[in-house]
Symmetry: C5
């Protein structure tokens, strides 16, 4: 799993029906302290994450389908938590 | 999932029968704002994506097989949407 | 599987219920001799790993779910061992 | 899926029985236009690919096992097609 | 699948019981001709690989569990062959 920041959303008329009522978020990957790594991914929201929030992203299909209650959904990445705090020792 | 742009197609006479009537697209990976990242992948079309269109690509085998209705298809990557707009906050 | 060092924990109020009573560790990836590689991942603890300990991390969803006894848990990475010694020939 | 070029084969006496009668090819990864990317992978042949041929490689275990008709084979990568032509728009 | 060289072993008292009687090898990833790439992984032995031997590594959980006869083992990477020769064309 990785940490990221919600920087946008994608919209499209032609898409698999699975995405019809789901938000597709653009997630900037970050270091534990919050700096952008220069990479990103697209993830389905499951926690109501808003603009600029730090989030935990699961990047694995079978777990993502369970979170979204869709045993055959075309999904690999899902936002599974909003991060309040990263404590580093 | 990632964003990309359709830049080509591949053709081959000798291939697994699964690919017989499917388009195999060359997808240039892009940043959220559409710049090429320098990387690419080959993905099966599922939405009728045309030349130069921005697309959403699922890069995970079990989900890809579901999209293509082929429980045992040799596939990992599939184009699952055409992107109209990427809104960044 | 990879080697890493426990450098922190993440906390969040809004998250999937699976994470309710589990520690989410920030793992700095290391070389076999223990130098940081500059990359990290977030992993669920399964062995009681503490601050600064060298650990073995499994980064694969199906195995991670088995370790955590949760056939449908949203998890990909889990700490599966604490490293006492890395012998290089 | 990715494109590559067959640059060699590996041989070994001690190996899992699954590999007994299968060719293990060394595949140089290439760009869509055929330049080497500097990376490679080892893939099982399924189409009779020969030296220097451009090939399509599936790098995903569940699909690879289906192609090779081996539900429990220790395999992740398989050559699934020989490329005649890559058309770029 | 990738090629590597056995450069060490890891030892730990606290670990998942699956690893109790298995050797956890440190594998330096190599190019087809045997040069170190600078990267490594930890893999369970299944062929009796010794110090400095060139090996074939399967880096995929479901196949790795089959090789080790453990349908629910926490494992992703397993050494599946010892390489005698890499023939490049």
């Amino acid at each position: 799993m990785i940490l990221g920041r919600v920087i946008g959303e994608i919209h499209g008329t032609i898409k698999h029906e699975f995405y019809a009522n789901r938000r597709l978020l653009v997630i900037e990957k970050t270091s534990p302290s919050g700096e952008a790594t220069g990479d990103y991914l697209i993830a389905v929201d499951s926690v109501g994450a808003g603009a600029d929030e730090k989030v935990l992203v699961l990047d694995e299909g079978n777990g993502a389908r369970q979170v979204l209650d869709s045993p055959d959904g075309p999904v690999r990445s899902v936002v599974v938590g909003i991060i309040d705090d990263v404590v580093t020792y």
